[in-house]
Amino acid sequence: MQRREALKNVAFLLGSAVSATTLSIVLDGCKPGTGKKTGDLFTEDQNKLVDEIADTIIPTTSTPGAKAAGVGSFVTMMVKECYPENVQNDFLKGLDDVDSRSKKAFSKTFTALSAEQRNQVLKALADDTIQQKKDDKGKETKDKSKKAADKSKYEAKVYFFQLIRELTLLGYFTSEIGAKQALAYVAIPGRYDGCTDLKPGQKAWAM
């Protein structure tokens, strides 16, 4: 069983000395390391690029998308404050890679592409990332004796698309727009009803 799946199961455990409240948000914590970039990690163009990638991952539909929720600046802030220098560098390379892929396929930078072209670029990137993860996992099986508890969530390998996707989802669904419009947010429910009938079009509860 993969670490990610296994960790989610821990959410069912309520008995240790602390409550498991918002566990799932915390699951993919920031990774430790040495050094931290100071000043502006991202150029203005890169900030725009992150905005557009985030908005392709979570576009406007019947509800506002990532751009409206300010997710781009959240993603860049998180990379800057919560990740070590090597991950930051990988992230910057990942952004360059998105533009390279865009130029190769459509002779334009990502931000100049149409929505459909952006989808195609990210779909290919997602597929390549899945393949890369599969290949890496094949290598990893030799090291299976290592106990699950020894594998810190802070040590997991970071894949650019997986990271920007996770941070986009986190930033969006915990934003005010994401929680209140895409999901249903009740700050103080006041009571618990264990069995309600699902109403047509009912949104999932935000945390």
Partner: protein
């Protein structure tokens, strides 16, 4: 509040309580209500009820990192980051590991919070009685020593603390999980109700599933508000709806006018007087000024959380007790225990897609122990219980790997598939060699030596885990759960944050540190009523038992004091 922050002249009280968590708060309440002038010492800062719960009313988007940790926090909290409890949501309530190091002879995850209320603010609130199956276990299978008490000795005190604390739950009439004085139970959701029925039908009620018994109020109680179902307990509750020092015991103690709370007071050691053969006071280091000072009292309650208590007692050396206060048995610091957990099973539930729930219930379900009871005999001793629950998955679910875009977004905003999981909490045997001792090769921020912890789970726990995993899968499958997957994420001592046993109770002063009243065999005016006193762990969450033992010990101590016996 009568808080004394200034360094001051030597002061004398009737009683000193070391620590302000679950058991320390109870000691302060009971002793002050019985008329004693009490000084409660807490090594960390003061946290005022409601006012200082900085994050309690924040919406998700008001957390800059949405719960996650920065590189700076990761660097200063290398132990606290090992598991989920330490997050941006209540970051200030966890210790800076660099300021208070300890030595891990073997890996031991030590989760600590230094502040008034201590872990009573962050605890999981599951509250279960332990019964005679547990009190008799050591005597029956020969591990550890016999408990000096039985269920009948503690039952009235469980009643007493439950009535005050407010525990919601469902009476089940099960011998191995005695019923208590419950507030109305929280409701199970549709899936949990179905799973409960199918498990209980299949096993003909030789196994049961009940709603978690939890120190959250389901109705207003003793002037405190009822649970609002936000499930944000670990940030502190502005409604006072779960039991904590701040919401419950501290206001009661303050109301007597007999309590002085002194934050930033690190108890370095207890001072022993060989002429009276009693403790005469404590040596305190002011956490802010590093100034040393002494406080004196007739009796001392040690409630520093098991490992904090271990440090204070082992560090209290004298000509009479060169190896730690009250350690003529040589057992002090030994028999360290914690529950082992992080294994079980989970799966998908079909047929309830038209059902949902309202509110965020800060509680799950509980399956009490059924193994090694009656005719059931396993290849290990003792047993385990399960906690768990069902819920519909949210936006984190995997629709397809790395999916994105408009269709993906629309899909994950709908309630996802139902999931049901069971996770075991297993009893750990008392092993003499699982121990702590003082390591003089390191110093903490205040110049004190540190604790070394040498503790591991052994074969009995390893064998039990196989059942914990497979039984969970079997019960879920019987309940109709699909795609059941087992897991064992590995469990190191400390992770369950149920440390127990370093000053165990027993009848024989040669093999135990405390008598049946939590009183030191060797030093009659010192009482230890936190997890240190536990002679075995049982498999239930232990805090309610600490509460009951504390109230019982306070009653005894004050009577003895009045009789001039101590």
């Amino acid at each position: 509040m009568n808080i004394n922050n200034k360094a001051q002249e030597q002061h004398t009280y009737d009683a000193i309580v070391i620590g302000s968590g679950i058991s320390g708060g109870w000691a302060a309440k009971e002793l002050t209500e019985k008329g004693l002038k009490v000084l409660m010492l807490e090594r960390g800062e003061n946290i005022e009820h409601i006012k200082d719960y900085d994050t309690a009313m924040k919406a998700p988007w008001e957390f800059k990192h949405r719960g996650r940790l920065t590189q700076e926090q990761i660097k200063t909290h290398p132990v606290q980051i090992r598991d989920y409890p330490y997050s941006e949501f209540n970051e200030k309530w966890w210790v800076n590991d660099l300021e208070c190091p300890y030595t891990e002879v073997k890996r031991f995850d030590w989760y600590r919070g230094f502040h008034v209320g201590s872990k009573s603010l962050m605890w999981g609130r599951q509250s279960y009685r332990i019964g005679d199956i547990d009190f008799e276990a050591n005597a029956k299978d020969g591990h550890g020593i016999d408990w000096p008490i039985r269920y009948k000795d503690i039952a009235p005190w469980y009643d007493y603390v439950e009535k005050f604390a407010g525990i919601s739950g469902q009476a089940e009439g099960w011998a191995q999980l005695p019923d208590g004085h419950f507030l109305p139970p929280m409701e199970m959701n549709c899936v949990e109700k179905s799973v409960k029925k199918r498990i209980e039908d299949h096993y003909k009620r030789t196994r049961i599933m009940t709603i978690g018994r939890v120190a959250n109020l389901t109705v207003p109680h003793n002037g405190r508000g009822n649970c609002q179902y936000r499930n944000l307990c670990s940030r502190g509750c502005p409604f006072g709806a779960y039991f904590s020092t701040q919401s419950a015991t501290l206001p009661a103690a303050m109301a007597t006018g007999n309590l002085t709370v002194r934050p930033f007071s690190i108890v370095n050691s207890i001072i022993y007087d060989k002429d009276t053969k009693k403790a005469k006071g404590v040596l305190v280091i002011d956490a802010q000024t590093k100034e040393n000072m002494e406080f004196y009292s007739k009796i001392i309650f040690v409630n520093g959380s098991t490992l904090g208590t271990a440090f204070v007692l082992l560090n209290s050396t004298s000509d009479t007790f060169p190896d730690g206060l009250g350690n003529s048995s040589g057992q002090l610091g030994h028999n360290l225990m914690d529950h082992h957990f992080r294994c079980g099973a989970s799966g998908d539930v079909e047929g309830f897609d038209d059902k949902y729930y309202y509110g965020r219930r800060a509680n799950g379900i509980y399956v009490p122990r059924y193994r090694n009871l009656g005719n059931d005999k396993r290849d290990y001793v003792r047993g385990f219980g399960y906690q768990g629950g069902a819920s519909r998955s949210g936006w984190q679910r995997n629709i397809a790997e790395l999916a994105f875009g408009a269709d993906f977004k629309e899909e994950v905003t709908k309630p996802g598939p139902w999931k049901m999981g069971l996770g075991g909490f297993g009893e750990t045997l008392p092993y003499y060699e699982n121990r702590v001792y003082i390591d003089h090769s390191k110093k903490d921020k205040w110049g004190q030596p540190v604790l070394a912890i040498d503790c591991e789970f052994k074969e009995n726990e390893a064998k039990m885990r196989i059942d914990m995993m497979n039984d969970a899968a079997e019960m879920l499958e019987i309940a109709g759960v699909k795609n059941v997957k087992t897991y064992d994420n590995g469990s190191y001592p400390g992770m369950a944050i149920h440390e127990m046993g370093i000053a165990r109770m027993g009848n024989d002063p040669k093999t135990s540190v405390l008598n049946k009243w939590n009183q030191m065999h060797d030093v009659k005016n010192v009482f230890v009523t936190d997890g240190s006193c536990m002679t075995s762990t049982a498999c239930q969450n232990p805090s309610l038992t600490y509460m009951a033992l504390t109230a019982r010990a306070c009653d005894y101590a004050v009577k003895e004091l009045k009789k001039m016996n101590i």
